[in-house]
Structures are given as structure tokens and as C-alpha cells.
Subunit: 508 residues, 2 copies
């Protein structure tokens, strides 16, 4: 590849650096640019120069007055052959993960329960950076803590988005998050998808054809969910990831890699010999998908990881991995809003990943065991789907490779009341009654006692007014998002209702 001089890149003074670093400052919102360092912390930086200095400045409660001496969490023993199965059916051994205020442990409650920096405690950040390094081997990145991916992502929106900015996203996406950006004045520009996720050529087309005079600043941020895309369940191939990263380089786009389902991968070819020789961590790291982070020499990826799907949603703890420049700005926003993450979670993660807890290898053993359990549920779902739904030909679904969702296509063109107008190039609205029929079907299923999420809930309408795509998204909302993470009974009963409801709806 030939490097072409581009206004997006600055040459570093270090001549040995083969790659030029992009100037990331152009991506910051006016709010992020205007943020000042905390004056009280600045004073402290001055004061830290001399060891032994007496601090009468800060009003921090003394740790001898914290009424918490010890925290114990009872977790599955990681020495079980298949810890998730043993835990689930209640036959497994348990172990206790303990944090103390006054006794030695990985992270003292003295520290965990005190005020600290928004980025989180060094011990926890280092532990997560080690996980990262062994999975993604990211080139020169910083780890900073979050309160889970919703917290992290909405902070990234504030960090990067000014009113009037346009951001790219998948045309069906996690609308709770895209909606959170709307009051900030961010416009979403949907990228077309197929069964393998977002289509790189469509992303390039949008960027290349963007007219800044009529549409404002060209999109400089892509929000994507690469594994088990929510709601479509698709996982981006390595080939597509490379193409997308290259397009992001060409057009200087920041990638928000929201990857809460990353650790839940199925049909993995985990090598028993690798487990035996090097342990679970290496065996899993060998087969997990390659992240955008792993190819990010520019520092344009902000990767968001979470414990919500692999431990529990109530953890409210995750981590953001990104370039140091963006990390610093993110941390300043955290210091000016939610502040440092809770001490409970930081202490728990430290002990769980530490030598007296599961350790990093045990953590990956849990993850591998969890993947097997969810894979079993996915297989059950697809089997029951085949038996009770697909036979009628009224619906079909791809088998998801990761995560929690199946994207069920309703073959609405078989419905007796399905109508399609003749397609003309002039038409900008929907050309069929897909949306109306799907709404009817959703209500029909609800009457039968089943909720699936209608695709319309996740559809991003292109508001640019330009007819870029061949069809309106309202003509493509003939899908439901269903989950296979419920109990076996939920899967059996739910899909039975679904199959019957569909047939009644189609008047078979």
C-alpha cells in the first residue's frame, strides 16, 4: 500500500515511526474541548512532589471509619470440569472470593472504598489490560474502566459528537443507544446490512458520495456491534473487519467497537492440546474473533468490553480500550460525571482474576464453559425452530455464531394481504405494507402470549432525503429478534406459540 499525503495525518517527529499517527483532536466535540482539568486535582499533582507531605486539603473520610471490614462473594469453584453446568444444576463445589480492609489481598478495601480517579484503580486497569494484551495484542492502548457498555458508549457520543454531526451505524441496531445520541443533536446514517452484517462497500459509498455542502460534516464516527450484532445476531468476518478498518482509515473515521457478546462464541475449534499445554486462556484467545482493536495501528478504535453478559448485568462494570489521547479525554468526562466506578466491583474483579480467585485462566475456563451452555441453548432453539416453525415456510433464520439473538425472517410475501406498489426511482417512502403487517403479527403473537422484538424497534431510517439505498427500510422490517438465552422450557413453549401464531396469521 502506498501512503498518500492526507490532511488527516500528522507526521510524528519520531522518524523511526513507520506509521504516521492521525490527528485525533479533530474528532473531539466542543464540549470535550472545553473541559478543564479538575482544579482540586491539579493542586494535588503539585502537592505529590514531596513524599511525607501532610494532607489537610481533602475531605476524604478516613478508612478506619469505613464500616466494611471484609467482603466475601461465593462463586462457583473453577476446579469443576464444567463449572457452568455444575453451578447451574447446583451440584458443584463453591469457592469464596474475599476482599479485606486490613488483611492482605489483591486490592485492599481501604483503596477500593476510597475516592479515586474516574479511570478506575491501577490494579484493576492493569488486570484488564493483561486480558486485553493476551487476546487482542493491541498496539499501544490504554484501558480505562466504565460502568458497562451503555455508560461507555454514551460517554463516547458526548466525547465525539457535536450537534449536527452525522455518525454511521448498522441499519438495524441497538436503538436504546442510538436514541441516546439524538438529544445531543447527532444524526444517524444507516449502513446497509446483509446476513453477514454491515456491508463495507455501502459504508464506502456513503462516505465517498457525502456532500458536505448539503449534509454537513462527513460522518467521522462508526458505531458497530461486530459480534452477535444487536438485533441481527450476525458476526463480522475477518475479511469485512479488515475492509471496514481500511475504509475508516481512508476517511478518518473513529470506530466505536461495542462488543458485549465477544466472549460468547459458538462452534469454536478449541484445541484440547492447547488447553493441556498452555491453559484455557491461550486456547480461547487462539479461536476468538479478531477485534478491530487488534488491527488498530492508528488509534482510531474505541473498544468497549463488559462483564454484563459473562458475569451479570448488575456488575455495572466494563472497560474501554483506546488510544491514550482519547482515553484522557474520556477520563476527564468521567471525573466530571459518574466519577470512579464503585469499589465493590473493582475489589471483586481484582480478587476474581487474582491468584486467590479464578485467576485469568480460570476466568477463561468459565467463559468457555458458558459458551458451551449457550451453544447448547442455541442448538436447542434452532432444532425447535426447525421442527415447529420453519416447516411451514413462513419464517426462516440463520444460525448465529455468537451472542444471544436469532434474527427471524418472516416470509411476508406469502401473506394473502401482502401488497407491493410498483417500484419507481422517484419513490422515497416504503413500497409495501410490510410495516403494517408486522405490527399486526406482533400484536397477534402478544395475544397468544409471546413477545419477540419487532425489527421496526431497531430500524434506523435514513433521514438524509437522498435515495442512496435501493429500498426503504420499512420494506425490510419483516424480522423479529428472538433470544435463545432463556430456559429450555421458554424456548420450547415460545417457539410452539410462534409456529402456531404464524400459521394462524397467514391463514393456513
Amino acid at each position: 500500500m502506498v501512503y498518500v499525503a492526507s490532511p488527516y495525518y500528522v507526521t510524528t517527529s519520531d522518524l523511526s515511526s513507520k506509521r504516521r499517527q492521525p490527528d485525533l483532536s479533530r474528532h473531539l466535540s466542543a464540549e470535550a474541548r472545553a473541559r478543564l482539568p479538575n482544579p482540586i486535582k491539579s493542586i494535588w499533582k503539585v502537592a505529590q512532589v514531596k513524599p511525607g507531605t501532610i494532607n489537610m486539603g481533602n475531605g476524604d473520610p478516613h478508612h478506619t471509619l469505613y464500616p466494611i471490614g471484609e467482603m466475601n462473594l461465593v462463586v462457583p469453584s473453577i476446579h469443576e470440569q464444567d463449572p457452568v453446568q455444575a453451578w447451574r444444576i447446583g451440584t458443584g463445589e463453591q469457592q469464596t472470593v474475599s476482599s479485606y480492609r486490613d488483611e492482605p489481598c489483591a486490592l485492599s478495601l481501604k483503596t477500593a472504598m476510597a475516592y479515586s480517579a474516574g479511570a478506575g484503580l491501577k490494579h484493576v486497569r492493569d488486570a484488564l489490560a493483561e486480558l486485553n494484551d493476551r487476546i487482542h495484542a493491541p498496539p499501544k492502548h490504554t484501558v480505562t474502566l466504565s460502568l458497562g457498555n451503555a455508560d461507555a458508549l454514551t460517554k463516547c457520543f458526548r466525547l465525539l459528537g457535536d450537534p449536527g454531526d452525522s455518525f454511521l451505524c448498522e441499519e438495524f441496531t441497538f436503538s436504546a443507544m442510538t436514541n441516546a445520541a439524538l438529544p445531543l443533536g447527532i444524526n444517524w446514517v444507516p449502513i446497509r446490512m446483509d446476513k453477514d452484517g454491515l456491508i463495507p462497500s455501502d459504508m464506502e459509498l456513503i462516505l465517498a458520495n457525502w456532500d458536505e455542502d448539503s449534509r454537513g460534516k462527513r460522518p467521522h464516527v462508526l458505531y458497530t456491534i461486530p459480534c452477535s450484532q444487536n438485533p441481527t445476531g450476525s458476526t463480522l468476518s475477518l475479511e469485512r473487519r479488515r475492509q471496514i478498518y481500511q475504509i475508516a482509515r481512508d476517511w478518518d473515521v473513529i470506530i466505536l467497537e461495542d462488543d458485549p457478546y465477544f466472549f460468547l462464541q459458538y462452534d469454536l475449534d478449541i484445541r484440547q492440546t492447547t488447553i493441556e499445554r498452555y491453559g484455557f486462556f491461550r486456547a480461547m484467545a487462539d479461536v476468538l474473533p479478531r477485534s478491530f482493536l487488534s488491527m488498530d495501528y492508528d488509534g482510531r478504535v474505541m473498544r468497549l468490553d463488559s462483564f454484563s453478559k459473562i458475569i451479570a448485568p448488575g456488575m455495572r462494570l466494563g472497560w474501554v480500550t483506546c488510544n491514550e489521547f482519547l482515553a484522557e479525554k474520556l477520563d476527564m468526562l468521567t471525573d466530571s460525571s459518574s466519577q470512579h466506578p464503585h469499589g465493590f466491583g473493582q475489589a471483586f474483579v481484582s480478587e476474581l482474576l487474582g491468584s486467590r480467585g479464578w485467576g485469568t485462566d480460570g476466568f477463561m475456563k468459565w467463559v468457555a464453559s458458558l459458551c458451551r451452555e449457550y451453544e447448547r441453548r442455541r442448538n436447542l432453539f434452532m432444532d425447535v425452530f426447525e421442527r415447529k416453525v420453519a416447516g411451514s415456510g413462513l419464517a426462516s433464520a440463520e444460525t448465529p455464531q455468537s451472542g444471544m439473538f436469532v434474527w427471524i425472517k418472516i416470509n411476508l410475501d406469502l401473506h394473502p394481504r401482502y401488497k407491493e406498489l410498483e417500484h419507481t426511482k422517484l419513490l422515497v417512502g416504503p413500497v409495501s405494507n410490510t410495516a403494517e403487517l408486522m405490527d399486526e403479527l406482533f400484536r397477534k403473537l402478544l395475544e397468544c402470549g409471546l413477545v419477540m422484538m419487532p425489527a421496526s424497534t431497531f430500524a434506523i431510517v435514513d433521514r438524509s432525503g437522498c435515495v442512496q439505498s435501493e429500498s426503504h427500510i420499512a420494506d425490510r422490517v419483516n424480522y423479529f429478534r428472538a433470544t435463545f438465552v432463556g430456559t429450555d422450557k421458554t424456548i420450547e413453549d415460545g417457539l410452539a406459540i410462534f409456529g402456531r401464531g404464524l400459521e394462524e396469521f397467514f391463514c393456513y
Copy 2:
């Protein structure tokens, strides 16, 4: 009092309502107005109508897969005569506060560790609403959880502030928070203070003289720290609170009552007979200061409470009490950002305040015991200050009635290099070299091994350009904020350094 028709009030259709409710919607920021309900949650509201409905919509991990079966926190036994003393010196009994996933407890880990609403779980909100009711007896308010007061306050800024808005605050205030509002385009208008806190007549003067043509929208928000004001340590009298609330009514101002030090009050006249007859809760509630919330018939107060000072800062849990309308908007912002508070804290608070933990009465016994311990430290601080500092006449301090801070005045006019220009009405800048000398003194103390927070760190400069006040704040920064919450040794050694350093600085 005669009710005068005002554009700020709307008459409710309920004729039995003696008070008209103000129209709070005018206070919302453009961002808050533009926020839409989460479409996924809206679908769920539809789906909740029919019990027994099977949910295949949401991708929530099943609770049988949370690897946390039990959480135990070791806390001081509340049956000790003086629990803080016994805990601090390590002689006291302990008790264990436990939460379970599968066994009965106040708040199951099944619920605490699942996804939930941003406002927090009903059980926790109800427990805190009960605390509130018994202390403040607020007229018709809603409790919603926060991640501590910084989180709550910065969310309130986003909820109420548009770029160009002016908010009122004390002229010395917690600048980490006021700075957090600056990137949102909020301008701070300082209200003059004396030793008893913000001066109501100055607040009224600012509002009455406000020229909307030259200065934009009249301030519609007051940010105040009524107890142990940070940094000045002053506590507003009931008389001042009533005046401030009335001014807020007259000019339709929302009061952000940031009260993290509320529970740390000294020289309280707690009646032993009340404790014996009704318990600690009632005895404490009888003598704690009256909050703005307690007098808030309009619903214009947003009160922010926190566990940071009475349990530990790492709790990252607090609660906001306000009008239902504002609470709903705040919850929508939380759902679109940090999401629900962590399950650890919600579970812990539920058990601690529950019948198998301290209970609410035990909680107040801990608070009373903590007040005694901090009162002892405050007394020690003031004694040592008298002995080692005040004798020289170079510095003086009022005894704080609450919180953690002493506001030490430096009698800089005694310094041989102190200079004052002749005061003229035309002068808008500082007329003395106070700021320079204080900076010199700060560095001098730092060299001696002591950090106190210089007043300049907290000073809000009036940027209106109007000479409202008689003097520039830079002429009034001859103060340090010192804390008395450190150990006895810190107090003794720190003030000894301070006394010597001061004398050297003044060349005695």
C-alpha cells in the same frame, strides 16, 4: 401571604389544591426535552399487560448463570454502645450483612444483579424514601438512585442547563462541580457569602437587577451546599433557608440542594429520653437541620444525598429526591447514560437498612456515633489551632457546625508586603495583592510539608462585567480550606507546621 398571578405558575384543575404548582417544564434543557423513551422498554410496557407472557425479546443472561450465589459484608455490630469507637479501635463485635441469590433476603441477588431501570430497584428506593419521610417529611416527592452526588449533580446540570444559561452558586464553592458545567455552556453567577453562608439579599439583588437583554435568561437554578458548605464549612440557618426558598419561589428558581455532609452535624442536643422512648432515628431526626426539601411545596428542590461520607466514597451510591416530573426526566437521562446503579450497592443497602442488618434505627445510631467521633476531631482541631496558630493573630477560624472543613482566614493585612490600591468605583479588577501573597504562602507551606486548599481554587469570578459587588473576589481569597477528618497526628503535626510556616511567612 397574598398570591400574585405570575407567569411561572399554572393553576391545577384540582380546585381543592390550595397551592398552585409551578410549571417546571420551562426549566428543562433542550437536550432533556428532546430525549425519547427507550423504544425497547416501550415495547415491554405493552407486553407487561398479560401475565404469563413468554419473553423471547430481551437478551438478559439468566440468573442461574450469574456466578455469584451469596454476598457477605462484615460490618460493625450495631449493638455496641458506641459503634464507631469500638470499630475504630478494633475491640468491637462484628456482624455480617448477607445477600443471597436463592435464599430469602431483603433483596435477592437474582434481582439486584439483573438489568433494571435507571432509577434503581423499588425496594431500595422505598427504603430511602422511608428515611427521607422520617427526616424531611417532604411534600409529595420521588426518590431515584444516583451514583453519588457528583453523578447526580452533573446529571441535573444536563437536565436544566442550556448553553448560555446562567446558574447561581455560592461565591466560593466546590469547583470540581461548577467546572463540570462549563463545557455545557453554563455560566456561573456567584452570590456573596458571609460567615453564615450565602447572603439571601445578595441573591435577590442579582435576580431583581438582572437585565435579560444584556445578560440573557435570568438565572433559573441555584446550586447550593447548605451544610458544611464546601469550602467554607458554613451551615445555613433555618431563617436563611426560608428566605432563600422564598426568593426561589418569587423568581422561579430551581434549588439543587447538594447535601453530602447533612448527616455529620455537631453540638447536637440529642435527647437521651427520646432515644430511650423512640430510638435513635427519631432522636436524630428531631435535631438535624431542616432541609430545603422539607419546605418544598412547589417541587422546585432537587435534593442530593450520598453514602460517601457516612459509609465510604467507594459506595458510589446516593439518592435524589425531587418532584415526580423532574424525577422522570432525570431517570430518562440515567437510562440513556450510566443506567441502573450497581447491584452490589443496592443489595448491601437493602440488607444494611433491613431487619437482619442495622435497620434504620441502627443506621442512625451509626450516624450519631460518627458525629461524636468527627465532633471530637473538630474539637481537637480547634484546640490545636488555638494553641499553635491563633495566638499569633495571623489567622483565625470559625468553629464549623457540620461536615469536614474549617475555613481559615489569613490576616494578610498584617503582612509587611501587603498592598492595597485606593478603591474607586471604576475599578473592576482586584485592588490588592492578596492573590499573589496567598499563592506565595501556599508554596511556602508546601515546602514545609503541608497542603491546605487555597481559597482561589474555589473562587467563582463574576464574569458578568457588572460591578455588583463592592469588591473583587481576588481580594477575598485570603483563606485556606483545611480538614479535620484526618488522624489526631495529622491534625497535631499539620497545624504545628501551619503555625510555624505562617510566622516565618509574616517574618515574625
